[in-house]
Amino acid sequence: MSEGFTWSTGSEIAQAVAAGKVSALAVTEAALKVIEVRNPVLNAFTSVTAERARRRAKAIDASPDKKKLPLAGVPFAVKNLFDVEGIATVAGSRINRAHAPAKRDAELIERLEKAGAVLIGATNMGEYAYDFTGENMHDGPSRNPHDVTRMSGGSSGGSGSAVGGGMVPLALGSDTNGSIRVPSSLCGIFGLKPTYGRLTRARTFPFVASLDHLGPFARSVRDLALSYDAMQGFDADDAACVDQPVAPVSPLLERGLDGLRIAVAGGYFRKGASLEALTTLDGIAKTLNAREIEIPESARARAAAYVITCTEGAALHLNRLRRQPNDFDPAVRDRLLAAAMVPATLVVKAQNFRRWYRARVLELFKDCDAILAPSTPVTAPKIGQHSFTLDGVEMPVRANLGLYTQPISFIGLPVAAVPVPLDPLPIGVQIIAAPWREDISLRIAYALEKMGAVKAPRPKL
């Protein structure tokens, strides 16, 4: 496999492996080599599972069924909150390093490997996923492949950096408030946050039970669809996983835009956006002939997501806060300690509002099939940057990179995040659909990719 092939998509690799043009082992070795060269710069991986990957690749090469495997030989990585057999699930923390090694892989890893993919390692992330920057005080920051002095975005920063930096064509992340869509925007790659309850979270380290989602990153829409299709299906081991029929989207991608009514979110979703974010959004909206609509009470939705996040996070970590407060990143600890003092009445109000807001937003989908919104207010900030100015107001970076993603994940809507290759730094757009209509988000993303309007730009590494 040539150096150029490391920029191939997963579907190109799977086709080449299935046709016997290249072995899964050769693909794996090339990926390991690239990781060896680029990871010291990008700091995307915290563990590389080289021997396991070689064994798995050899098994695929020997399999008589490899032609039937949709992800044959495709290397992939997972955020280090996914259980990987034999490794402690650190979830970006120092504290979890004392945990026993996981006994079994996360369910989504098992499903991807069943489809022929090859796990190659676990990636860096913000501590306990409470982060939008990709910085980590224990492992160092994951870096943006388009400018290594800049943030990858978080909290699935290592997964964003690994895919954007051409180390793997596919990676998994989690998204509670934007942790797939923010790194996707900053690193210039595609991301899918499916409907809440669609993909099982079994055997992953949680953050906020009410809002946690898992999903893939890739450099093409087809790769998102292939991996998403391989991961669908009910799992009783995740209390939120809904027994919904498996609905493959790969066969639907080429249906195009015919019959789709597309809107673009105004109001809250334009306030505070940089010129880059607005120009990009307007360009995509024009291409899709989208009309502007208002998603009501989005600022309040974001506020409610914030309250549910910090208080459920505090509940999850309460004993660790009491016993090991000095082992947390102080920024995470101080937010969780403050949240542990928030009256329960206010949290119940936030959950009440969530149901009300869901009903109002679902009404909008009677008149449109998808809504566009910015993924982030700005392109990648500098690593270590604490504040930025949005609409003339100085705000903390860490809490506000997810300004436009939070009101959407709050009610679990599916989103395809697509990258627009601005020079020098990319920025993303969210394509939001009604619950269970990932197919619509991905169809629109695919049409935009075919037109050349969105693309994962190749960084100069």
Partner: protein, 59 residues
């Protein structure tokens, strides 16, 4: 001069058995201020008594 929030943090930490060091106070207070401001923005929104949360949330 300690204000009401300072007093609340002192009392709540003790009552809830939460660790508290003096150097953490400014950050905890700043975070609590933001969280309460956002929580009150939600709580002040008029909803009918029947507006209950979804016991098992489904999108």
């Amino acid at each position: 001069m300690p204000d009401k929030l300072d007093e609340f943090i002192t009392t709540a930490s003790a009552a809830l058995d939460l660790p508290l060091e003096q150097t953490w106070r400014p950050a905890i207070k700043a975070n609590l201020e933001v969280t309460l401001k956002l929580a009150n923005l939600v709580a002040e929104f008029p909803l009918p008594d029947e507006a209950e949360p979804a016991p098992v949330y489904k999108a």
